[in-house]
């Protein structure tokens, strides 16, 4: 058992997938933070309606000057660029983490959901051997799989926990009413498909069972070679259907989908 666990976490594998993931995560970070740059002062240095993270609270509720938060976001964008293009990306990686800790501690509201998932991905990625794709002789390098495994487990846990949370809600979720309200409410619904189609309650009830089932299938199926491809297809369909029915930023599905490269079957490494 111990051997199996050790092999699962400390085996070596070609680094192609983590190198690809590193670049995609950095690109995602650029896309996530670049639109925030012009709003930096409003988001992180506003004197009203703040929700501080524990670090900022411990520091006595500081209100940073606008130029500082703008500078930190600009630095974050540069560092994310460095992670993509530099031959020594790890220094830029630390810079990205520092900027994210600073910004998330100033406003926890911005760091919820996919902001937080992105931050955790950056943390776990540090354990992955993404530094260099090829050896001097041109062959693809190999490295320990720990970072890749933890990133994969974290990604799976998001689907597993969200499915469990839905089922724990009991009849409030399984009756379909919650989904019906999301589809018909103005905050997240009334969007593309839900704007054109009036989803009846029975369809929402079916969806209320189907969605957690799909999420559990994605979370578990991705770990087995036989079901991996189906889990990937289900994952894409799940996010596509979310994008067509709910007002979620395209960055959320993008973040979840870029994790699929960690499971890409290009080098048939034993995952299961």
């Amino acid at each position: 058992m111990r051997d199996m666990v050790e092999r699962f976490f400390l085996d070596t594998a070609p680094v192609r997938r983590v190198v690809r993931f590193r670049k995609l995560l950095a690109l995602w970070t650029l896309l996530y933070w670049a639109p925030r740059l012009p709003h930096a002062e409003e988001l992180y240095a506003r004197p009203f309606l703040r929700r501080l993270g524990p670090l900022a609270r411990a520091a006595g509720d500081p209100l940073p000057p606008g130029w500082l938060v703008t500078g930190v976001i600009a630095l974050l964008l540069l560092a994310a660029g460095g992670v993509i293009w530099s031959r020594r990306p790890r220094r830029f990686h630390l810079c990205v983490l520092g900027c994210l800790v600073f910004l998330h501690s100033l406003d926890v509201m911005m760091g919820r959901a996919y902001g937080a998932i992105g931050f955790i991905a950056w943390l776990l990625l540090f354990l992955a051997p993404y530094d260099q794709l090829q050896e001097a002789d041109g062959t693809v390098r190999r490295g320990p799989v720990l970072g890749q495994r933890l990133l994969g487990l974290q990604w799976s846990s998001v689907y597993l926990f969200t499915a469990l949370a839905k089922l724990l809600e009991g009849s409030r979720w399984t009756s379909g009413r919650s989904l019906w309200r999301h589809f018909h409410g103005r905050s997240y619904g009334d969007w593309l498909l839900t704007h054109w189609v009036d989803f009846p309650m029975w369809a929402c009830q079916a969806g209320a069972w189907l969605i957690p089932a799909v999420e559990i299938c994605v979370a578990l199926g991705i770990w087995f070679r036989r079901t991996r491809r189906s889990a990937m297809v289900l994952c894409v369909l799940l996010h596509l259907s979310m994008m067509l029915t709910l007002r979620v930023s395209a960055l959320f599905p993008a973040l979840m989908l870029i994790h699929l490269v960690l499971f890409a079957p290009e080098d048939r490494q034993r995952l299961d």
Binding site: E6, L43, F48, I117, P144, F161, H182, R247
Partner: protein
């Protein structure tokens, strides 16, 4: 020093033990997060990643009006100054910040700060002095479309609340 760190750490037995401890820590954290809904007391918490699990029964909105120093009532739209919207939702921070929807003393303090900031923006950009800012909550039942309006919250604005926001040019002109 940092370059290729995981490979170099994994090359040593002691390093491999550290990596295993990290993996174990990660798994225990996930386990803890998974059992939190069943823990007693303060350790009890919801599961993580509960996006789109619960939904409100209403479409909620806020409206803001200001009373000028000559008694006129004007509409104030915070969206003029609070520009950032969450994703495709169109929700701005005042729409979704919990303090705007609760009435305990600490929430009222937060509301007062926001009202004064808003009054300062009106004074700075429109040159209109507000002596009072009012806001009202509105709920529209998603199922029935029935609309309910909350009480009118009134926040007095003192002259010194505005003074801090007077642009430098205006202050110079005042002198």
């Amino acid at each position: 020093m940092l370059h290729d760190l995981p490979r170099r750490v994994a090359a040593h037995p002691a390093g491999r033990r550290v990596l295993m401890v990290i993996a174990l820590g990660f798994l225990l954290t996930q386990l803890f997060l998974g059992v939190r809904p069943w823990l007693p007391g303060q350790a009890r918490a919801r599961l993580p990643w509960t996006m789109f699990v619960a939904s409100g029964k209403n479409n909620r909105s806020l409206s803001f009006t200001g009373v000028t120093d000559d008694g006129a009532i004007i509409e104030v739209d915070p969206a003029r100054w609070v520009r950032f919207t969450r994703g495709f939702t169109g929700l701005r921070v005042h729409d979704h910040h919990p303090a705007m929807w609760k009435d305990q003393a600490r929430h009222q303090r937060v509301q007062r700060v926001f009202a004064r900031w808003l009054a300062r923006q009106v004074w700075r950009d429109d040159g209109v002095r507000l002596i009072e800012l009012r806001f009202q909550r509105h709920w529209e039942r998603i199922e029935s479309g029935k609309v309910k309006h909350g009480a009118l919250h009134s926040i007095p604005i003192a002259a010194e609340d505005l003074e801090r926001a007077v642009p430098r040019e205006a202050r110079v002109a005042d002198r």
